[in-house]
């Protein structure tokens, strides 16, 4: 089981969290012309690397805050957790 350190609450069991996917994907800016390709990139295309991965997690059974985690997708080692704006 993963042990995830919520930046707001501290170390908690994986069971308290929901996964939010790749944390490096940025939504295209609102109210601007965007190409189909940009939208495709945002909605569907993912690198899904083997190794270090920055991802979003949601402390859904806790403080309900979203935050980012840098985790190894092979060993599940968590290197750091940080607030989205950091």
């Amino acid at each position: 089981m993963l042990n995830i350190k919520c930046p707001y609450c501290g170390d908690r069991s994986q069971k308290e969290f929901a996964y939010g996917g790749d944390g490096t994907i940025a939504r295209p800016k609102l109210n601007q012309e965007i190409s189909d390709e940009e939208w495709d990139n945002f909605v569907y295309l993912r690198k899904s690397p083997r190794g270090k991965h920055i991802e979003l997690w949601h402390h859904i059974a806790g403080c309900r805050q979203w935050f980012k985690v840098e985790r190894d997708t092979t060993t599940h080692e968590i290197f750091r957790t940080f607030k989205p704006e950091e």
Partner: protein, 418 residues
């Protein structure tokens, strides 16, 4: 190639089974092949077999990093079905069902295909309506579908919890009687043995380290056992698709996730078909050895670990015990995991790519095993003819950007949505 039969079995008994031919050779890679298939799993081996058999292309290599049959073909829960609603999925998988029915004879290898039926359970009137619609769509594509009411389901699985006060009471279900199971390892070995006998080189312990691309055309690949030239390369690497895509500077609508399964200790025959309990994230069948074979959802976050975490197994078995209370008395024999190439709409991709001569076969999500023959057959056609077959037209790589998703059941990478 030595033909397997009762006579060859008796003959070899006299020499204590020490003089059987090797089922396939262990060749050194040649400098050049007409086609190289990366990935010696079910899909890759089937592709090589159909390239040789249907298209007479025998100068083919199958490159495998580990050993053949060591990936998802040896890790799945062996379910074979074609109970799909959308035409593209239904036709493709029903074509595969016909290949399954003749596979043991065709490969001269007993794959133990056992059409024992599958039931998807329904727990509300709305779900019964949805299943009636899916069943009708299946029938329009020539697939057997039977809508079962509560009493009919009870006759088939009397040991399920049919009490009124459960969270998900059983209203009925949708059955496909011709669905079934097969012995997964035998599928890989059967295809490997026949492909090898027609001249395909199966090269194990050979890792792909890079690709050679000139002016938008693939010209070869670099491996841990030397460079290999080839004008046509097919990728059949399931959970490792993104790793190779990175070497090709491609980004795909695929995420790699971990899916677990488990088996109980063997018990006497109790369940003769496959039962899926979608509401409880659980499905089950009983192997010929008597083990209850069970699985459920993804672990839920990107993973290349090939082994899972306990919370998912607990979650799956909680659903299992809710449906079949007797499971609580069984010991779990083992659990394992495999890494899945989860596509964004839950349907696969079998297509050409923007690189000339590079072909892509991925996105099998939860259901790669049943598609081994149909995927191999259509991928071989796509590679040999350099164009997709009508059976895999819908599985295009650009369907995401074009908006033609094949979102059969709301599956895919985003398990937290469905």
């Amino acid at each position: 190639m030595q033909k397997y039969s009762v006579f060859s079995l008796i003959k070899n008994a006299f020499s204590n089974h020490e003089k059987w031919d090797l089922a396939w050779k262990d060749p050194t890679p040649k400098k050049e092949y007409d086609v190289v298939i990366i990935g010696g799993g079910g899909h890759g081996l089937a592709t090589a077999y159909y390239l040789a058999k249907e298209h007479q292309i025998t100068n083919v290599a199958v490159i495998e990093k580990g050993w053949i049959g060591g990936g998802n073909i040896g890790r799945n829960t062996t379910i074979i079905r074609s109970n799909f609603m959308y035409d593209d999925n239904a036709r493709f998988n029903e074509f595969g069902m016909n290949l399954w029915r003749n596979m043991s004879q065709e490969l001269n290898f007993n794959v133990m295909f056992s059409p024992r039926g599958i039931i998807n359970l329904a727990h509300s009137d709305a779900q019964m309506n949805a299943y009636a619609r899916r069943g009708n769509s299946m029938r329009l594509n020539g697939i057997d579908a039977v809508l079962l009411n509560r009493e009919e389901v009870k006759k088939i699985i009397p040991m399920a919890d049919f009490s009124e006060d459960v969270r998900y009471p059983i209203f009925g279900g949708l059955a496909q009687p011709s669905a079934g199971t097969a012995r997964h390892d035998a599928v890989a070995w059967g295809y490997a043995r026949q492909a090898d006998s027609m001249g395909v080189d199966i090269i194990q312990n050979c890792e792909v380290t890079g690709f050679d691309i000139e002016a938008g055309k693939i010209t070869g690949l670099r491996t841990s056992r030397g460079d290999i030239k080839s004008k046509k390369i097919g990728l059949c690497v399931a959970g490792s698709t993104n790793v190779l895509a990175e070497k090709l500077n491609m980004t795909l609508p695929i995420e790699t996730h971990l899916l677990q399964a488990c088996v109980s200790e063997p018990v006497k025959p109790v369940l003769d078909g496959v039962v899926t309990f979608g509401a409880g994230h659980f499905y089950i069948s009983q192997s010929d050895k008597g083990e209850m074979v069970m699985g459920g959802d993804l672990d839920g976050y990107n993973s290349y670990a090939q082994k899972g975490n306990l919370p998912t197994i607990q979650h799956v078995l909680t659903g299992g015990v809710a449906l079949f209370p007797f499971l609580s008395r069984l010991k779990m024999l083992r659990t394992w995991g495999g890494i899945m190439d989860m596509s964004m709409d839950g349907s696969p991709i079998i297509d050409k790519t923007h690189i000339d001569g590079l072909y892509l076969n991925c996105g099998w999500c939860y259901g790669g095993f049943k598609s081994v023959p149909s995927s191999g057959w259509t991928f071989a056609h796509t590679i040999a003819q350099d164009r997709v077959h009508e059976l895999n037209e819908g599985f295009s790589l650009n369907r995401f950007s074009k908006g033609y998703l094949l979102d059969e059941k709301g599956l895919g990478t985003k398990t937290w949505i469905s």
